[in-house]
């Protein structure tokens, strides 16, 4: 494994046997089906997929809490199965949601306990805990029981716990679940800060905006298989080969002419008089623009499709709700 790689996954397979009762035969569910993936050191990498796609399973294997059925996974050059004990001091694991903390003790006590499990001295644990509470805006409520925290606060405490061991690689499994938009925005800024500190961040999410705004590369996964790994911008070019054009108040005659131009793959007319033109090759773009301008259309804008559109296009209408 190259020194530049923080994570390397090869042909990873994970099958779960589910048996509802002794009388019924077990069913085999394939959560990961030959996943291969590489993360460069210092990269923020997003893993996108619908529920049941295998995102959490992959994070659990990489964080050593689950064994793969076959294939291999390395974190910072260490095998997550045979060298799990050496992997653990180097990683941080954060799950989303309400669970994952001791509710009847304080946020500070939760962090101090985990700091001690990373074998920090009392003094170091105190310093680290104080710094993280301050950084995540939890200082004022640090000595309140966790059960009295809002969901957003719990989520920040989750992140603090994931950072308590000063990990080189941070696994975040849907960390902004349940956060309000402002808190999620702060969270994204924090991810950038953590990345600036040189940490590699592997983020699973349902939130396209989040993936687009913080991830250098994104892997789309569905039914346990990788569909694509690219930068959000590159992925966007896959479904509309090049840019697309939105126009306001173009006459029907102009739109009909545009629709017939070679290289125009799709024209969507909207009720408000606007339209979206999608092209299938680069040459068509210039021709469409020239025709629109010559026809006196002045409100023209070009854009790439959002990651969400890419995602829906690749995953299909199973969408995000599964």
């Amino acid at each position: 494994m190259s020194d530049d790689l923080a994570v390397q996954v090869r042909d990873l397979v994970r099958v779960f046997d589910t048996r509802k009762s002794f009388r019924k035969p077990s069913t085999r569910i394939s959560a990961l089906d030959g996943v291969s993936l590489e993360l460069s050191a210092g990269e923020v990498h997003g893993l996108l997929g619908p529920n049941g796609a295998g995102k959490t399973t992959l994070v659990k294997i990489l964080s050593t809490v689950l064994l793969p059925t076959s294939g291999s996974a390395h974190v910072l050059g260490l095998d997550v199965v045979s060298q799990a004990k050496r992997v653990r001091p180097l990683i941080g694991l954060v799950f989303g949601g309400e669970r994952g903390l001791y509710p009847r003790i304080t946020g500070r006590q939760n962090l101090r306990y985990f700091a001690a499990l990373y074998k920090m001295s009392d003094i170091d644990a105190k310093k680290r805990t104080d710094a993280l509470l301050e950084r995540l805006g939890l200082q004022e409520r640090a000595d309140d029981r966790v059960e009295s925290y809002s969901r957003g606060m719990k989520q920040r405490l989750h992140l603090a716990r994931g950072l308590v061991g000063d990990p080189k690689v941070l696994f975040l499994d849907e960390p902004t679940t349940g956060m309000d938009p402002l808190a999620a925005l702060d969270f994204r800024n924090l991810i950038r800060e953590l990345n600036d500190e040189g940490r590699t961040i592997f983020l699973t999410t349902h939130d396209m905006t989040e993936a687009e705004s913080v991830c250098e590369r994104v892997t789309l996964i569905d039914r346990g298989q990788v569909l694509a790994t690219e930068s959000p911008r590159t992925l966007a070019t896959w479904i509309t080969r090049f840019e697309r054009i939105d126009v306001q108040s173009a006459g029907q005659d102009v739109l009909n002419t545009v629709e017939r131009l070679p290289g125009v793959s799709k024209l969507i007319r909207r009720d408000d008089g606007s339209a979206r033109i999608e092209t299938s090759n680069k040459d068509a773009m210039g021709e469409v623009m020239r025709l629109l301008v010559e026809s006196g259309v002045t409100s023209i804008s070009t854009s790439l499709p959002s990651l969400e559109e890419v995602y829906v296009s690749l995953v299909g209408d199973r969408g995000l709700t599964l």
Binding site: L93, G100, R104
Partner: protein, 255 residues
């Protein structure tokens, strides 16, 4: 800081924040009242030592047993088990540390029993061999933690841990000679009692409360310690095997 000490301290913190953990310790005075009432009613003041010692040993056993069954299960319930396993700390060490925290607190039951006997019955149980008594209590606490680690490894494999726990209480109070000395039990039971550390602890503690000399104290302490150590080793094997198994099955987080 070692994971053991961290877990030990953490368990004390949990108890401070949630007194439910101490429910079993609160029963020690009740048992003391029951046993001393029986002894008084029977006109056997010579058995007061048994009546005062038994509640403390019962509490120690029961409290450690409950905790051993709940440490892993409650972490699963709170969703903390996976993040915990992902840390460099060994799960076994954490479990042993937390059980030891509870065991140490349970030793307070000895004080409760003595105080209850003094206040409610006017009975003072003297301690003619105080140093040996103290050492025996410490070694008993160690053996209890080791034995509870075995229980933790066993309980976590079953979804009916509570039933299992209940079934491991009174039979062990008998096998441990907690109330009735092992010497008074039928001969065929004795070999069984000798692998239960509690039987050695109960006999030794009772001897330290009598005025005569205590026979072979070092050997008896060594046996209690060894039984505890064997328990701790078996517990380690069981918990490590459990962890391998649930990581393979993918059931680590299942409640």
């Amino acid at each position: 800081m070692s994971a053991f000490i961290a877990a030990f301290r953490f368990q004390l913190q949990l108890i401070r924040n949630d007194l439910d953990y101490l429910l079993d310790i609160a029963t020690a005075p009740v048992y003391t009242v029951i046993f001393l009432s029986i002894v008084e009613h029977a006109g056997r003041p010579d058995l007061a030592v048994h009546a005062v010692l038994a509640p403390a040993l019962i509490t120690l056993w029961w409290q450690s047993l409950s905790t051993s069954g709940e440490v892993i299960d409650s972490d699963r319930w709170y969703g903390v088990l996976e993040p915990l396993v992902a840390t460099p700390a060994s799960l076994y060490t954490v479990v042993l540390g937390r059980i030891s925290g509870v065991t140490m607190l349970s030793l307070f039951a000895f004080v409760e029993s003595w105080v209850t006997a003094r206040i409610l019955f006017g009975i003072t149980v003297p301690v003619p061999h105080p140093w040996l008594f103290a050492v025996a209590i410490v070694v008993t606490g160690f053996a209890m933690s080791g034995t509870a680690a075995v229980m933790a490894g066993l309980f976590v494999r079953t979804r009916t841990a509570r039933t299992f726990q209940n079934s491991l209480s009174y039979p062990f109070f008998v096998l441990g000679g907690v109330i009735v000395p092992v010497a008074l039990l039928p001969d065929w039971i004795e070999p069984l009692t000798r692998v239960v550390f509690l039987s050695w602890s109960a006999d030794l503690l009772r001897d330290t409360l009598t005025t005569g000399p205590v026979v072979d104290p070092t050997v008896r302490l060594g046996i209690i310690f060894a039984l505890g150590a064997v328990g701790a080793l078996i517990g380690r094997k069981l918990i490590d095997a459990l962890l391998d198994r649930v990581r393979a099955l993918g059931t680590l987080s299942e409640v």
